[in-house]
Chain length 343, copies 2
Amino acid sequence: MAANRRPTLADVAREVGVSAKTVSRVLNEDGPASAQTREQVLAAVAKLGFQPNLMARNIRVGGPDTTIGLVIPDLANPFFGAVARSIEDTVRDRGLTLLMGSSADEPDRERALTDKFLARRVSILIVVPSVGADHAHLKSHRTAGLPVVFLDRPGVGLVTDNIVSSNRAGAHDGIAHLVAHGHRRIGFVGDLPPKLYTRRERLAGYRSALQEADIPHDRALVTNAHDQRGAEAATARLLALPDPPTALFAGNNIMALGIVAELARSARKDVAVVAFDDIALAEALEPALSVVAQDPEELGRTAATTALARLDGDRSRARTITVPTRLIVRGSGELPVTAPQEA
Amino acid sequence: MAANRRPTLADVAREVGVSAKTVSRVLNEDGPASAQTREQVLAAVAKLGFQPNLMARNIRVGGPDTTIGLVIPDLANPFFGAVARSIEDTVRDRGLTLLMGSSADEPDRERALTDKFLARRVSILIVVPSVGADHAHLKSHRTAGLPVVFLDRPGVGLVTDNIVSSNRAGAHDGIAHLVAHGHRRIGFVGDLPPKLYTRRERLAGYRSALQEADIPHDRALVTNAHDQRGAEAATARLLALPDPPTALFAGNNIMALGIVAELARSARKDVAVVAFDDIALAEALEPALSVVAQDPEELGRTAATTALARLDGDRSRARTITVPTRLIVRGSGELPVTAPQEA
DNA sequence: CTGAAAGCGCTAACAT
DNA sequence: ATGTTAGCGCTTTCAG
């Protein structure tokens, strides 16, 4: 019952009466081997339940491990879950296994994860950078041939491939949609911190769309939140303003949940909404939620294929690839402008 | 620009002019070291950007790797995402890193993943078993001391710890809630395949609740689907029945999405619904969705703590731990029974 | 306090 | 077709 040592190549070799190298050969289909020994080796492997120690192999071969390191803010966030699955699907036939972790958008945790991944000699590193994280320490690894790709946001301190959504244009289109339906007071509920790349870009799109429509920017209409509860509170604050917005824009999927939940609780169906990032059941809400949909599958696939190309020797200049977003009009953005209610 | 070899312990040792072992000592805070050498070593480590090769270390030390292998059906499913994050949170301060992959509920993919994890000598293996998968091959590993935990569903062919939700009792309570509000024709939209443990258990709860109320079981009211689109179609079929159900029960979160989407599309607000597993925005729907909520955090935490206890030497009998579900009444289950509409 | 030698499990490079 | 030797990067063991 005690921790029995797992069988090794040598054990198998002894069992059959051949050398370790011969066993290695049949298992890796390296070099020739008589049908006879091949049979015997396979039988012994099955009998002993031998499973080659991949770490030992990697040590000897010297190359990177057949793993891909992935750092995302939160494993439980459906958006990043979809991204992760897309990456997994893309690298699976290359035999790469996913090593992953949540950074909680904290630079220290991100660093702890990347350090562990590097110590494991991952083949590829894909990171959603946390605000405030510096990536200069990755430079030597990249120079040494490790593909490093930043996802969703550009990394800081390292020039490498960045895969991002068309945040600015997407937000612009969403706001323009609201403006086209007569809205002039549009609240922005963005995630935190304000320095977050995606938030900045989406806010920039918001402002440019307003500017094009000659609508003055009102700072009172821009709020932030950390999570869904916070977004609910922010929504309530906006609607309680003396001159409240007639429409709201959600800066990401979590903010969208908060806005929708708060509007439902307060039974406000007169507030137009457009959300950045699609959410489940958007079409089942009343009114159905119009969104600027990101494409998590394409983000993941692009990040993975870019990294694999680097792994295969692509030494071209670092690229920033922008994955388009798509405005999906479902109704919530086309609500008529109503007179502000009394607080 | 070519693949520069990463610095090794020996490189650091040479740089400082000490032996490799001394560097090792400093880095692992093993044995003593003069403040002088310690300084120098640390400086050289920083200068060369040395990062110890964890695989080499593990080879030598012989113990399991500081990774935890996790197999779930789908990384993009928010339920399993929440479970995964909970596991991660629980094992983080033990220094374990997550190695994970999606099985897509296919035994072959599950096996490929577990084999890879075993080849990497994971410290712990947590698996959501796919239907049709056999786990006898894990027996020797478990005997050798590897903690193996099955999550969400029991595994087949291996006696070990199982962590599951109270599927049967939860479904029973959900159905009883509908019955209490007068419903006698209740449709069941379950996931596939029919042999899936969670589906079977939840269907059993459904049937027992009907039986208690002396409601005859009608097979025509039990349907299945693979995904949200399928659940939408199944919902439409049920409602088109000559004697259609007045209430629907969703067998899992994905089925719930399908039911809600289809009811919204067909503007049927007269159909009562209870879903197994909570979903985002359940409270913002109209009517708000009543659910039998699972506790993914507790499922993950329990699986992880159980496995860690085994790792720490717990040799007690294999346990099956049932994590309670909770009926959350929000409105959709309390709709009045209406006369069936014409098809 | 530090170092030299041996060896973890595996494979590259040369034998035979 | 198979075996031997050496060595990947690290730590254990035993000396100093």
